[in-house]
């Protein structure tokens, strides 16, 4: 059997130099590499510190939604969902993309007014979000305890994916288009050389690149720091669980605004659920992926209260992954302050996976054609020099 390393390889030879080196073989880095290879002849190398799907791209809940509170985020997610529709065919892999919608529920007056404001914004932009009463919500999720629901918002075009094949699909197509994907190789430091950067690798090798894309999210800090770049994004542990598989019984991903609980049914049949943990603390720049009993207990109590029938459902596994949290909740994308050869694509605050199809494309268009997507202005990594910027988005969940 011939070895076709379409999932990257720890053995593939690196060239001494390339045009673009992408640090981080998650969905963001691989989508960017794929789109660069598709639209140019630039020589691209992706460096992944472990194996593909080992990081946040392999640990998230796979939710994809256009129900955001800010117009820019709604629009970019409309782009992303539009790309997702044709992506399985484009990448030649089953992404298990299922548009069962997202159902947001409000249990307080404040939550209710957020949903009303969002629905108005979505209508103006053309996103098909509908407001529902508790009874109407129960038609979509029959097991929901609607006594607690003041108002719900439903968008049938939102959905869930299985995250792993997304990563493999982008990797496989990028490799077919000539991108080198090297796994088990970390970029530990960089130094300026000519107009570009020289990367020092954990294997003892080095690689010169005209442009380096830091797509390593929660792990991005050390590489930035080696160049004297201080950015405020920090890893934040987020836990999640999955249950024994059931026959299809839950169409949408459900979000409870008040508790930050979300749950959906994967195409494998499991219920996948996460929640905002009260009193979670800062761990500095260290990535903490431990699991806790507190999470199981808190999630169990909240979920069973909202969907009593799930009480008899068994949890099979729990795990954790890092959100790469930016202080204003906005991503950090574009040339780094003082080091224009280093592009950031970090700080997505738990929502990078769903945005990656659109962001990978727009970042490639910036690298290849110098096209500036409107979101690049507000995602500018230089914005923190002027002090903290205000939060625009209040629909960050988890």
């Amino acid at each position: 059997m011939s070895r076709q390393a379409t999932l990257g390889s720890r053995d593939v030879a690196l060239p001494p130099a390339c045009d673009v080196a992408v640090v981080g073989g998650g969905v963001m880095g691989l989508a960017t590499a794929y789109h660069i290879a598709q639209s140019s002849r630039l020589r691209v190398v992706v460096l992944e510190r472990s194996y593909l799907v080992s990081g946040a791209s392999g640990r998230n809940g796979g939710g994809v939604r256009m129900q955001w509170g800010d117009e820019g985020n709604v629009r970019i997610m409309m782009e992303s969902i539009e790309i997702c529709r044709g992506l399985a065919q484009e990448l030649g892999i089953n992404l298990w993309f299922r548009q069962g919608g997202y159902l947001f529920i409000a249990r307080t007056e404040a939550g209710e007014s957020r949903l009303r404001r969002n629905a108005e914004l979505h209508r103006a932009i053309g996103a098909p979000t509908r407001l529902l009463s508790g009874e109407e919500a129960r038609e979509i999720v029959p097991d929901l305890d609607i006594d607690q629901v003041r108002l719900a918002a439903f968008n049938a075009e939102d959905g869930v994916v299985f995250p792993w094949p997304f990563v493999w699909g982008y990797a496989g197509q990028a490799i077919r288009k000539g991108v080198i994907v090297r796994t088990h190789t970390a970029a530990i430091a960089a130094e300026p050389e000519r107009d570009g950067l020289r990367l020092r690798l954990s294997t003892g090798e080095s690689l010169y690149a005209g442009i380096v894309v830091n797509a390593s999210g929660a792990w991005s800090h050390d590489l930035n720091r080696s160049l004297g770049i201080e950015l405020p994004n920090r890893p934040h542990r987020h836990e999640i669980l999955s249950t024994e598989p059931l026959k299809p019984c839950l169409d949408p991903l459900v979000v409870d605004l008040q508790s930050g609980l979300y749950f959906s049914q994967s195409t494998r049949g499991e219920i996948v659920a996460g929640i905002t943990m009260p009193g979670s603390h800062d761990t500095g720049t260290h990535v903490d992926q431990r699991s806790s009993l507190q999470f199981l207990a808190h999630l169990g109590a909240t979920l069973v209260s909202l969907v009593p029938r799930f009480g008899s459902l068994k949890v099979l596994r729990q795990w954790a992954g890092p959100y790469d949290v930016s202080p204003d909740g906005e991503a950090i994308v574009g040339p780094s302050p003082g080091v224009p050869a280093l592009l950031q694509v970090c700080g997505f605050t738990g929502h990078g996976f769903m945005m990656a199809p659109a962001v990978g494309r727009l970042l490639a268009q910036f690298i290849v054609h110098q096209e500036r997507h409107p979101m690049l202005a507000r995602w500018d990594p230089g914005r923190f020099a002027a002090g903290t910027s205000a939060k625009r988005e209040d629909m960050i969940i988890g």
């Binding site: 076709q4 009993l293 507190q294 068994k314 099979l316």
Partner: protein, 97 residues
């Protein structure tokens, strides 16, 4: 024949599927778990991990000194959400300094 030999009986992963993963360049228990879903069912790898390791050693993808099981995911055995939710008060109490 290898299409009918099951290594992971919870998730129906066969020897042929593992050979396919190896052909794609995957070498370790953790990587093959991710690609095939082996060990992610009700037994959480208790039945299949050793069988997979024997296969990987046999195929020469990994040396015996480098063998590592995949990260064990709690709970140790399946637990109902109702039982977990009854822990909520207790767990919060333990969290107090």
């Amino acid at each position: 024949m290898t299409q009918r030999i099951f290594v992971c009986r919870c998730e129906d992963v066969t020897v042929a599927e593992i050979d396919h993963a190896i052909a794609l360049g995957l070498a370790s228990v953790e990587e093959i778990k991710r690609y095939t879903g082996l060990g992610t069912g009700p037994c959480q790898g208790k039945e299949c991990t050793v069988a997979l390791v024997r296969l990987l050693l046999d195929r020469g993808t990994i040396g015996a000194d480098a063998v590592q099981p995949f990260t064990a995911r709690p709970p140790a055995e399946p637990v109902t959400l109702a039982a977990l939710s009854s822990l909520a008060t207790k767990a919060q109490a333990q969290d107090e300094p």
